[in-house]
């Protein structure tokens, strides 16, 4: 059963093409990401990494080709199982840490971790009632990554998750990513840093 279940979870891109200002960023891009796999997108600045992630999120229509989740086009079931952390933190500065996470919970489906557990995992315990505007950039980043933990999801789409994190923060996030993948999750991510995921099945696509 578990083997079958794992096989069913699948993110497929078929012949994706993205054109921006008459420039072809990528064309005829195909990949499959299965459970327990990480897809690492590489490439120069402006090579279309973020555009590809935004296509996977459904924010942008591909100029050709299609994205499938478990064999179906992107639908509500997909959005219930994915989380996206982009360039912007997506947290409100005038709300407290806890209020921000409660909003995420209200928008999605509660997952394995409670808010307290998630804050502990990203080393923000004790910051529940602190306004986000008084957090540092790295702490905001870790808060937006805590969103990944409190909701029930399979697919993480991460755009430069290590931005503004220190060495210690990067370690935390790498541990969380390894944990997620080992529990049958999928990750699609971009990164300028070298990602240390040695024991994990990692696909790499170079867009440039």
């Amino acid at each position: 059963m578990s083997q079958l279940g794992k096989q069913e979870i699948l993110l497929t891109a078929k012949a994706l093409c993205c054109i921006r200002d008459d420039r072809i960023l990528f064309d005829d891009l195909n990949f499959d990401v299965r459970a327990e796999q990480v897809l690492l997108l590489e490439g120069k600045n402006g090579s279309g990494k973020t555009s590809l992630l935004r296509i996977l999120c459904g924010f942008r229509e591909p100029d050709a080709g299609e994205v499938f989740w478990c064999g179906q086009t992107l639908n509500n079931q997909y959005y219930a199982q994915m989380m996206y952390v982009g360039h912007q933190d997506g947290v409100k500065h005038e709300l407290t840490v806890k209020e921000n996470l409660l909003m995420t919970l209200a928008l999605g489906i509660p997952g394995k971790c409670s808010i307290e557990q998630a804050l502990q995992k990203v080393h923000l315990q004790g910051y529940d009632d602190v306004l986000v505007q008084s957090l540092s950039a790295g702490q905001k980043r870790r808060l937006s990554l805590a969103r990944l933990l409190i909701t029930d999801n399979k697919l993480w789409i991460l755009d430069e998750p290590f931005t503004s994190l220190d060495k210690y923060g990067i370690d935390i996030v790498e541990t969380l990513m390894a944990e997620h993948v080992n529990q049958g999750g999928l990750i699609v991510m971009t990164s300028h840093h070298d990602v240390n995921l040695s024991e994990i099945n990692t696909l790499q696509i170079n867009l440039s």
Binding site: R54, C57, G58, F59, R60, E61, N76, Q77, Y79, A80, M82, M83, Y84, G86, H87, Q88, D89, G90, V91, K92, H93, E94, L95, E99, L102, M103, T104, L105, A106, L107, G108, I109, P110, R147
Partner: protein, 224 residues
């Protein structure tokens, strides 16, 4: 969580945000008061003329105040990425957007209604017309927020969308303005205003059902 809980959570969040930025939120209200009080200064000491044009003055000022406040509806969510998270929710976006519009109306529309009787008195509007004015504002200002949401969703991706927003939205406000100010005018003359009220109520129902859909579609377009 259920859709209803998400809807309530969005309203609560936006009200909380408005409370924490309350100085900013008072601006449309002060704008409304100042524009209305400019007219007696411009027109001069002509109480009869002011009384005649009072419905128009109050409604046009309310319209401009509502428009001025529109940009705040999605701007901060767009800038900090919260809007992305709302659009990625498995719940129907249009319902979540309706929650945002409702919270926005509570913060910007409702204060106008509360302060309108004072301004009506100030312009010498008769007592009967005052109640009708409040009723037209109650039916009309939510429509302004609903229609405005479509315009602001279309222009939120543009850096300087303010002028385009007014060109897009103000013409669509015309029916509300016509029926609402006409109703108040008729009421000052002691005439029945049921027809205008029914039409305003119908416009509100229509906008409640139809506005959130194009607004959420336009937001998705603004994202790409």
């Amino acid at each position: 969580m259920s859709l209803f809980q998400a809807f309530i959570a969005i309203i609560r969040r936006d009200l909380l945000l408005a409370f924490r930025r309350r100085a900013e939120m008072m601006n449309p209200l002060f704008f409304f008061i100042i524009v209305v009080s400019l007219f007696p200064l411009g027109v001069g000491a002509q109480p009869h003329l002011l009384q005649t044009i009072a419905p128009g003055i109050i409604w046009v000022s309310a319209l401009l105040a509502a428009m001025l406040s529109l940009d705040g509806l999605f701007r901060s969510d767009f800038d900090d990425g919260s809007l992305e998270q709302i659009l990625l929710s498995p719940h129907p976006t249009s319902v979540l957007i309706l929650g945002k519009i409702f919270a926005h109306w509570l913060v910007t529309g409702l204060p106008l209604i509360l302060v309108a009787p004072l301004l009506a008195e100030f312009l010498g509007m008769p007592g009967d017309a005052l109640w009708v004015l409040i009723k037209t504002l109650l039916l009309g200002t939510p429509v302004l927020s609903l229609i405005g949401a479509i315009g602001v969703a279309l222009t939120v991706g543009l850096r300087r969308g303010g002028m385009i927003l007014s060109l897009l939205v103000l013409p669509l406000y015309v029916p509300v303005l016509i029926f609402a100010s006409n109703a108040v005018e008729m009421a000052s003359g002691g005439l029945a205003v049921d027809a205008q009220m029914n039409i305003l109520a119908a416009i509100l129902c229509l906008a409640l059902v139809l506005a959130p859909l194009p607004a959420s579609a336009a937001l998705k377009m603004s994202m790409s």
